[in-house]
Amino acid sequence: MTATAPAPSAVPDSRTSGGRRSGRLRGWATRAPLLPALIFMIAVTQLPFVATLVISFFDWNSLYPDARRFAGFENYGEVLGDPALRRSVWTTILLTVAVVLTSLVLGLLLALLLDRRFRGRGIVRTLLIAPFLVVPVAAALLWKHVLYNPEYGLLNGLLHYVGGPQPDWISGTPLPAVQAALVWQWTPFMMLILLAGLQSRDQEQLEAARVDGASDWQIFRHLTLPHLRRYLELGALLGSIYIVQNFDAVFTITSGGLGTANLPYTVYQTFYQAHENGLASAAGVLVVIGSIIIATFALRVVSSLFREEVSRA
C-alpha cells in the first residue's frame, strides 16, 4: 500500500497561510470518512468499559441501591479471594488453552489431509466446515441432548453396538464434555486458516526439495512448518479471543454447574442473578486483563516454539 504523499512541487505553496489552510482542509476531507465509524466504536465499546471500570470501585448491589458506596479495591480483593471466582479464572484458562490447542492440532492434521488431491476433496471440505456453521446454541443443544444423553444419546447408542460402557458424559466429565463440543465447532475454523496457509506455499521450492530427494517429513519440518508459523499464530490468537469469551456452550450444556463456570458466565451470573454490580464489574475488568495476557502469552509461546525449531534445524 503506497501512501499518497503530496508531490514535492506542492510543498512550497503550503508555506503561505492559504496553502496551509487548504492543506488542513484536505487533511480533514480524507479523514472525514473514518470519523463516523471511529466515533461509533468509541461510544459503544469504550464508554461502557470505562463505566465498568468506575463501577468496579463501588460496593453496589442493585437490590439495595441506597447502600451504594465507594469501596476502592475491595471488589478486586473479594473477587481474587473468592474461591468460586478463582475457580472460574482457572476454568477459563483450562477451557481456552485446551480448546485452542486441540482444535489447532486437529485443524493442522485435517488441513494437511485436504492439501492433497483426492476424489471428492470439495465435498469433504464442505462436510468439515459444517460444524462451524451450526448456530453455537444449537450445537450446544445437539451435544447436550442428542449426543451426550446417557439413555438415548448417539454416543452411548454407538457404544451399545460394540458392548461398551454407558457413561454419563456431562455429570461424569463436565469440563471435557464442554471442551469436546467446542473443539468440534472450532477445528473447522483452524483447518480453513491453515489450509489457506498450506496453499500459499511456494510450489517450485517444494518441487525442488522433492527432486533433491527430501522426505515428506523433512519437507514438513523445514519448509511447511516455518511457513505455517504465521497462520498457526493467527489461528491461536483469533481462537483465543473468541473462546475466552465463550458463553453459549457453558450456559447451554452445564448451565455453569459442575465446575464449568468460566469468567463470562460468572460475570453474567453475578449481576444478572446475584445483582452484585460492583463485583461483576471487577470480574469483568479481570476478564479484560486476562484476555490481553492470553493473547500476548499465546503468541509468545508459539513464536518461541518456532524459534527453537528453526535454530535446531
Partner: protein
Amino acid sequence: MSTTAVRTRGRIRRGAGLGLVAWLAGIVFFLPVAWMALTSFHSEEDAATNPPSFTAALTLDGYREFFGAGGGASPWPSLINSTVASVASVLLVLLLALPAAYALSVRPVKRWTDVLFFFLSTKMLPVVAGLLPIYLFAKNTGMLDNIWLLVLLYTSMNLPIAVWMMHSFLSEIPVAVIEAARIDGARLPTVLARVIAPMALPGIAATALICFIFSWNELLFARVLTGVVAGTAPVFLTGFITSQGLFLAKVCAASLVISLPVLAAGFAAQDKLVQGLSLGAVK
C-alpha cells in the same frame, strides 16, 4: 527400475490411503449434523431409542411441534427478530465500514495503521467487560427488550471485522486503475461508482455474509437485554436447555431450522470464508 519410480509409486498408494482418511474425518465431523437432520424427521418415540434407529419411519411431527402445532410457543416472532437484528446491523455496518475502509486503503490517511489496530483492539475487549453498564443504560432509558438496541450492539461487534475485511479487499484494487480513471478526468463519485464499486462488490458481499453469521449466532447480549418482545432465535433455543418429556425430534428440528440461514450463508461464501474469518489477513 529407478528408485524415484519406486518412491513415486509408494507416494501414489499412500496418497489414496490418505484420501480415504480424509473422507473418514469428514464423515466423523459431519456425523452429528447428519444425525441431527435424521432425528428431526423421526417421531419422538423413535428418536429416543437405544441403540439408535437408522431406519425408523420419517415424519414431519418434529417440525410441526417446533412451529407451535402442539400448543407450544411459536418461534416466528424470534425468527423475525433475528432477521431484523441481523439484516439491519449488516446494513449499518456497511454504511459505516465502507467509507472508513476507503479512507484507510484507497487514499490512506496519516497513521492509518494506528486506526486499524484500534478497531482490532475493540475485538479483544470481551463482551462482558461492557455488558453491565449497557444493561443499566438500557434499563434507565427504556431500551430493554428493544430490537434496535441489539442492532446497535451487533453493529459495534461486527464493525471492526468489516473494516479489516473491506480494507483488505479494497487494497487489492490496483492504484493504477484508479489513477488512470482520474487522469481521464473522472471525478470522485464517478470513480467510486464505475471503478471501485464493481471491483469491491464480491468483497462487500462476503463481508455482509460474515457479519450476518456473527449477528445471527449472538446469544449473550440477546439473553441479557431482551425479554418477551425482542427475543432472538438463539434465545428461543435456550428454552430447550432443560429437557422435559420426549422432545429430541423437536430440538433437532428447531436447531436445524435456526441454523439453516447460517449454513446457507457459509456455503455461499465458502471461498471467502477464510478471508472473512481471518479479518482479511489470509487470502
